[in-house]
Amino acid sequence: MTALERVQRRRQAVEDVQTLFVEHLMLDVEPQDLDPDAPLFGSGHALDSIDAVELVVALENRFGVRLQESRVLSIPHLRTVNTVVDLVIAETQEAA
């Protein structure tokens, strides 16, 4: 796989997660407006713990991964769109 193909694959995963967040949390923004490295909780997009639970369920359904509880509850994995993409990629590879 070339560098361009790898980076395009990553971009697709980022866009998938952005779209999933906007649709499931009914955010009043376009998917592209969720900056990949902006904090999702606290400052940034100001999501809360209920949103986090919904996100995890939505991610499991969308990507067909089982996010083990110990990892899901690790706050660093849910800090940004990019950290969520890292988690999904890692879990997908583990499942394979």
């Binding site: 560098a3 361009l4 790898r6 980076v7 395009q8 990553r10 971009r11 980022v14 923004v29 592209q32 407006d33 969720l34 900056d35 990949p36 490295d37 902006a38 904090p39 606290g42 400052s43 940034g44 997009h45 110990s70 990892r71 509850l73 690790s74 706050i75 660093p76 800090r79 940004t80 990019n82 950290t83 993409v85 890292d86 990629i89």
Partner: protein
């Protein structure tokens, strides 16, 4: 009020215990609440629907959509408070049309308490209930003093805005009240911590010529409102981004301005770096995490921000204390990390 320990010691205290710092560099302005909103609404690119005793991170953009001032804006007891960086105070007042505002700049200073056990020091100095203050919430621990929970380090952080005449006394009270060692930290340490956590610094990446979209600050913008700089932002958004700020991890220190290459092709440059943590601006489509590029012939790895796992994420003020700090554990598979040492 100046740090005595070296940078590594200061940073270690910030990441593990509690620190104090003294700020003279913030612009402090106070508006009558209604008049302040009327004045600031067309100038600030952020939604100003802020509730009493709450603050919000905001931006004053220039007409090209680049950050002109980095602001913390909030309401407290009928007053609109603005804490700003990025401009000298007179220029800040002008940029915010604040000629009629109360200039709190000369007679107040800001004392910051930062670290995973910052809440414990605040509670010991004031009242234990202070530990329940929500993020970006505000209260007054005593007459004339405003406390805001707002840090720039990724750890628990509180800003105490205090009258200059009381500042030294309060500083000494904090030192005396602390149940743990307190390390005084300086600007260099706070800037390092903000880079490790990728907290926006207007005098660092904010002066790189990038606009708010390229800086990944869309979350601070209200794209539905009409304010200075937002027309340029909307036009840029419609046209598509051509570059974006991106985190890199390097095995060695890098210089600002160093070229980032992918398979021999220049794709961007280093904006700022500290030890292994690097902020770069990369062209799209290359501005993504999970890639390996080169700088000065050495590999660098693009990654998700932030660069550190903050201890504060796992410290619960209801259960933990500095005395029992060894009980604070990371979930399986994670390690405490730092761009220097932890």
């Amino acid at each position: 009020m100046k740090p005595t320990a070296d940078l590594t010691t200061q940073l270690r205290a910030l990441r593990n215990e509690v620190t104090l710092s003294w700020h003279d560099g913030l612009s402090l302005l106070r508006f009558d609440a209604n008049r302040g909103i009327e004045t600031l609404e067309p100038l600030i690119a952020t939604d100003l629907g802020i509730r009493e005793s709450q603050f919000r991170q905001a931006l004053r953009l220039d007409d090209q959509g680049r950050p002109l001032a980095d602001l913390l804006i909030g309401f407290f007891r009928g007053t609109l408070h603005v804490f700003g960086t990025g401009l000298e105070h007179a220029a800040m007042a002008e940029a915010l049309s604040a000629q009629d505002a109360v200039q709190a700049h000369d007679d107040h200073v800001v004392i910051s308490i930062d670290g995973p056990f910052a809440w414990e020091l605040l509670g010991a100095w004031d009242t234990p209930s202070a530990i329940g203050l929500p993020y970006l919430g505000a209260y007054s621990p005593r007459e004339g003093v405003l406390a805001v929970r707002a840090g720039r380090t990724g750890e628990y952080g509180y800003m105490l805005v205090v009258p200059r005449a009381q500042a030294e006394g309060i500083w000494n009270e904090l030192l005396a009240a602390s149940p743990m060692p307190v390390t005084v930290v300086g600007k260099e340490t706070l800037e390092r911590a903000s880079l490790e956590n990728w907290v926006f610094e207007i005098d660092r990446e904010g002066r790189s010529g990038l606009d708010a979209l390229e800086l990944q600050l869309t979350w601070r913008l209200d794209l539905h409102k009409d304010a200075v700089g937002l027309d340029a932002i909307r036009a840029h958004r419609d046209a598509g981004l051509r570059r974006r700020i991106t985190a890199l991890r390097s095995g060695k220190p890098l210089a600002s301005g160093a070229r980032v290459l992918c398979e021999g092709q220049e794709i961007g440059q280093v904006l700022a770096a500290a030890e292994t943590a690097v902020l770069s601006v990369l062209d799209t489509p290359w501005a993504e995490a999970g890639m390996t590029y080169t700088v000065d012939g050495e590999p660098v790895h693009s990654q998700s921000a932030p660069f550190v796992v903050n201890r504060s994420l796992f410290v619960n003020p209801q259960r933990h204390s500095w005395a029992g700090r060894d009980e604070v554990e990371l979930p399986e598979g994670l390690q405490w990390q730092n761009t220097t040492s932890s």
